[in-house]
Symmetry: C2
Subunit: 283 residues, 2 copies
């Protein structure tokens, strides 16, 4: 079974940086913040399908969903899709559904490891859906981003404002708030995640702090430390961590927190070797 993802560019290293052993077999990059075309997806599927069919990992955006659906209809091999919608800043019953954000990496890593071990299409599809259900993210921005074609920030933020519950395409977030301290920001992000996932005491979790592109590593470490403390105080077991710029939004300043409730299978697959440009460990 071959694992394929894709979406608009501007989120690098997602997805192209995750192509390699133990993760994606192919990635389809569209123009900046623009869905790839069904042609790209067909070409990718033809290039990497070795008979077991293809599984698409699709972030929940209307254009991506539509084009991956068209590609799926045109494909003459078995195929399925995992829809990632981990952004809890939007209500569950949002008309377009929740967006797929930094949790996409977690889905791609874990399903990629299963595919590498020879799991079949149905197994990988079920696993991807499970990881997505176990994953919640929320982000905050301290600046907008500048899409090259537009040449100016897509929204304005004053120096002392922040955009809470922000997406990864320079869109406005849930609300514009006065800039708060890092600990106050983490408290808000973590509360939204907790409300969604309700992690129990002793629950093993993966904690992923993701930079949007223009945030210094030092600040990501600070957010990580505060998030770690938040969940440690609640007895939640931070079993694995990942901190860095993985699902970016061009030059946006800010970050997101992603939490995934791990079971034994997911933990083993997270630890499995991966060798890609942007994520590498194991043999």
């Amino acid at each position: 079974m071959a694992l394929i993802s894709g979406g608009g560019s501007g989120h690098e290293p997602l997805h192209i940086g995750f192509v390699g052993t133990g993760m994606l077999d192919a990635a389809c990059p569209g123009q900046v913040f623009t869905s790839p075309t069904p042609d790209q997806m067909l070409a990718a599927a033809q290039a990497v399908n070795t008979g077991g069919g293809v599984l698409f990992v699709v972030k929940n955006y209307a254009g991506d969903v539509m084009n991956f659906e068209i590609a799926a209809e045109m494909l003459d091999c078995p195929n399925a899709s995992v829809l990632v919608n981990d952004d809890v800043s939007l209500p569950k019953d949002h008309v377009a559904g929740r967006r797929g954000v930094a949790g996409t990496l977690v889905v791609e890593k874990i399903v990629g490891a299963a595919a590498e071990r020879g799991a079949d299409l149905a197994t990988c599809k079920a696993l991807g859906d499970k990881v997505n259900r176990a994953t919640a993210s929320m982000g905050v921005a301290l600046s907008s981003c500048t899409a090259p074609a537009l040449g100016k920030p897509t929204f304005e933020l004053a120096d002392h404002e922040m955009e809470m519950g922000v997406g990864i395409h320079g869109e406005r977030g849930q609300q514009t708030l006065p800039l708060a301290s890092a600990s106050e920001i983490v408290k808000q992000l973590a509360a939204a995640i907790d409300e969604e996932l309700k992690p129990q005491k002793h629950q093993p979790v993966l904690l992923h702090v993701n930079g949007f592109g223009a945030t210094p590593a030092m600040e990501l470490y600070l957010v990580y430390q505060l998030a770690l403390q938040h969940w440690q105080q609640r007895g939640v077991k931070i079993t694995r961590s990942l901190v860095g710029n993985y699902t970016t939004s061009l030059d946006m300043a800010g970050c997101s927190i992603t939490l995934t409730l791990l079971d034994e299978e997911m933990l083993t697959l997270w630890d499995a070797p991966v060798h890609t440009a942007a994520l590498r460990w194991g043999c």
Copy 2:
């Protein structure tokens, strides 16, 4: 033999992100853009020296050099230092010597691999000096950075200006120029590196494109591609590559190019397994 580095904070993941198997044994982070103290270096040496002595990797800045020298004098175990001064934007006979910048990672990775294999202090010191001599870097900034204590950018750049030959502490560079295209920028950076290293046809090299903290990955990939073309056209063999934010300058926008002339020993040690927070490959 234990390998230790350190320097001001604000360059994360350098150096703390490089502590682990196959790279550094300890790192001493100072305050932002401020040398760590000799006490920190002594404590680090006492914590990780297992009898073979310690080797300090020191970026060439007056404060760092002084404090590592004081620590070396106070140490009661065998020790030596490798001074990294890869920034070719400054003349060779600059009064304070050339600065140590992104090439530091290359020194730490290669010497760390040798230390992991049991090489002794003298061998590691000689190897570190060799890697430093084979390495040249130059950077460009599209913005200054904001040190938290100052709270405003340390220098001003207009929208249509860039700072060529810039360091990693928010200091002014070699010259302020009108903003140029990526290909023109890469041409200038590569020319300075070529003048220093004079890579021959068929020479294997490591090409490292380093983001300063606020530059989107997409732009780093563009710079990498242009640099690759530059050296490929000259018959130089880009044998290994590394692209990403590794030696940062807080929230500065811009990047640097580092080239290292590789021999067999350096290539083998670069490929050796490394397991740190920020650099991981192999077993």
